[in-house]
Every structure is written in structure tokens, then in C-alpha cells.
């Protein structure tokens, strides 16, 4: 009866440390040379992907969520809308990868998951930006953004940015997964038992 409690505590701590790695990687972000500076690429979704493969899609969502909450505390809460956007993007990216992986297993499922995740994130963030995030910013700052201006911002900024972000993370995650596959499967067995 005690083993049950112990493994759930261990799971909590593992997720907490994934958040830490996520934050460390978050602060190593770099802007892309040809896109606006506020769109930054970072590898902070990698630990969330890892958690979601070892445990469940929900674990990945928890890691992304707490990472953003702590980022807000550390950075001084200057940009709550950006943080919320990052959370939503992370969820849309991580969940498809994890769901496909847990359904089919293997490298192929991860690759197809990353592709699906990238598309869902890019399209989803474009829609959310057009409907909610950009209007929220323009309300916040008192700008009058025309529908056309927002359309341009989405097509020229948000859509390609999220595509590139997904591809870059995928380029890193696939070799990482191939190297760590055995280890990940071991951990899965350990926590499933």
C-alpha cells in the first residue's frame, strides 16, 4: 500500500525537475534572424515532451503549465498574455506527439506526432492570435489594429514562426528520442508496474 504513495510522490518530483530543466532551457532562447524579436525559439518544450512520453499527455501539460507559471514569477509578470500564449502553444504541440506515441509506439509515431503537433500548433496559434491574442494586445495597448493588419501579422509572423519552432524542436527531439528510447521504455515499465 505504501508503494503506491511513493511512486506518486516520485512522479511529482520528476515532473518538478522536468519543469526546472524546461526553465533552464527557456532562458537560453534565441530569436530568429528574420522574424520580430518577441517571437523567440526555445527548447523548453523538450522536457515536457519527455515527461509526456514517459508518463501521459497530462504530464506534459502539467510541465508546460508550471513552467509558464514559474516564468511569470521569475520574470516579473510583465507579459501575462505572452505567457498564456506560450502555454497554449506548448499544449497543442505536446499533446498530439504523446497521444500518437502512446497509441503506436516507436520512432515513426514520434516523427508523425511531431509533424501533427507542429501543424496543430501553427494553425491553432494562428487562429488564437487572430481571434484572441492580438485583439487582447491591441486592447491592452490601446492600438487600433485593423483586421487586415492582424491578418498580415498572423500570415507573416505567427504561422511561419510556429512552423519553424516545431521543425527546430523536432530536429532536436528525434535524435534525442532515438538515443534515449531504451531508457524511456525502461522508465515506462517502472512506472506502469
Amino acid at each position: 500500500m505504501k508503494t503506491n504513495q511513493s511512486s506518486s510522490l516520485l512522479k511529482l518530483i520528476i515532473l518538478a525537475l522536468m519543469v526546472t530543466i524546461s526553465l533552464v532551457l527557456f532562458f537560453l532562447n534565441f530569436p530568429l534572424p528574420f522574424l520580430p524579436a518577441y517571437l523567440k525559439i526555445d527548447f523548453s518544450d523538450i522536457p515536457a515532451l519527455m515527461a509526456s512520453l514517459v508518463f501521459s499527455p497530462m504530464a506534459g501539460v502539467v510541465v508546460v503549465g508550471i513552467k509558464n507559471a514559474l516564468y511569470l514569477l521569475i520574470s516579473g509578470a510583465g507579459d501575462p498574455i505572452g505567457v498564456a500564449a506560450n502555454f497554449l502553444a506548448g499544449v497543442m504541440f505536446v499533446v498530439p506527439v504523446s497521444m500518437l506515441y502512446h497509441r503506436f509506439k516507436g520512432v515513426k509515431s514520434v516523427v508523425s506526432g511531431l509533424v501533427t503537433g507542429t501543424v496543430i500548433m501553427a494553425v491553432g496559434m494562428s487562429v488564437l492570435n487572430y481571434l484572441f491574442i492580438l485583439p487582447a494586445y491591441s486592447w491592452f495597448m490601446g492600438w487600433d489594429m485593423s483586421a487586415q493588419a492582424m491578418w498580415i501579422a498572423v500570415i507573416a509572423g505567427v504561422l511561419p514562426f510556429n512552423m519553424i519552432k516545431g521543425i527546430v524542436i523536432g530536429l532536436l527531439f528525434v535524435p534525442l528520442f532515438i538515443k534515449m528510447r531504451v531508457w524511456i521504455e525502461q522508465k515506462q515499465e517502472k512506472f506502469a508496474a
Binding site: V19, T20, L23, D79, G142
Partner: protein, 267 residues
Amino acid sequence: MNNALIIGQYVPGNSLVHRLDPRTKITIIFFFVIVVFVANNVPSYGIVTAFALGAMFTSRVPIRYILKGLTPVWFLIIFTFILHLFVTKEGTLFFDFFIFEFYTGGVIQGFAISLRFFLLILVTSLLTLTTTPIEITDAIEEMLDPLKKVRFPVHELALMMSISLRFIPTLMQETEKISKAQSSRGVDFRTGPIKERIKAVVPLLVPLFVSAFKRAEELAMAMEARGYQGGEGRSKLRALKVEKRDILIYLLFAAVVAGLFITRSYG
């Protein structure tokens, strides 16, 4: 940068603002952010500005720290001001040169919105300047306590947040150590085509993940050995207590809000 990640922007001090209960600070800031949007004329903007600047001066945080916190948004503030200067065509024309036509309405509008934005950033960054992330985590745990009734794992969430904050310096060091070890073997993170650079990160992440799992096992065992059994009936090292000063600040803030609504309607 290392330091910024470890303690956030926290500037140690012993001022009234530092000593306030973090729950008080979070509550007041939450409502301040809403109430700033109520201001619509000179006296009401005066009241919110006076409150924010008053909080800033009583915190005795050196101005340069506050300005440093504002650096990422300076550009936005100035941009908003200039945008309004050009776009808003209300009031009287006071400056006309070639294609530049500036109206008084634009200046006022731009100034008001920039001021509002500045106040929002100032007050929220005061929270992180005078409160450590751990204190904020404790406060969040207390404030979310009612959610336990709907089985939301409040204690677990707070536990994860504090563990995660606690391990930032440790894992930061470890990342540095691993990347130095890889560099000494000739791995190059800085030059070369972007694809190669991305691939160079893989050998950095593998040991990071493996050691994080090991560390987690050790910590879980250590906690269990000391009798950790979840949040039920657990006492705290730093218990939060509402003091007289917290109540006074609440009253002051209530007065500010009342004043704001009065000046808004009669101003």
C-alpha cells in the same frame, strides 16, 4: 543571467512593502491591474499614479532595479505613444510640418495609455522585486486552498513549484558542467550550420534527463524516510500571518478605489 534565474528579480530589503504578507500583495496587485482601466481623466489617473509611485518609494528598491525591470517594455511604451501621436486625429492641430500633423488629442491619448501601461508593469514588477518566488508560491498555495474542496491538488502543485524553484541553481550548474565537458571534447555549440548546432545539444540533454530522474528518486526516498505523507495536516516552516499593516494597506487601497470611482464620475 544565472542570478536572474535563481532568485528572480528579488531585491532584499526590510521595507513595509517587503514585510507585507505576500497574499496581501498579490490580492492588491490583482485588483490594481483591473482598476487602472477605470481611470479616465486627470484626477483619476493622478490617484492611481500616486498609489503606484507611493508603493515604489516605500519599497525603497533602488530606481535602477525598477528601470532594469522595465527595459523589455520601454520600446512598447514609446512605440504606443508615437503611434497615438500619428494616428489619433482629435483635439486641435498644434504641429503641422510637411506630412506630420500632430493633434493635442493624440498627445493626450498616447500619454494616458503609455502611463497606464507603465503603471501596470511598475506594480507587477514591484511584487517580484520585493517578494521571493518561494514566498509567492506559499501565498498561492494558501490562496488556492478553497479549491481543495473540488479535489484540485493544491498542495501537490505548490510542492512541485517549490521543488522546481529549489533545483534551478543545481541544474543550471549541471548544464554548465556538461556543456563544458562536451566542449572540452570538441563539441561546438556556437558555430556551424544551424542543423549541426541543434544536433550538438542532444549529448547535453541526455545526461541532464538521466541525472534528473536519479535526483528525483533520491529526493523522494529522502522525503519518505523523513515521514512525508502529502499535504494532509502538514505544518509550515514559514507560516503566513495577516498583520495590522496588511489590514491598513487593504483600507488604503479601498480608499484609492473609492476615490477613483468618485473622480471618474465627477471629474
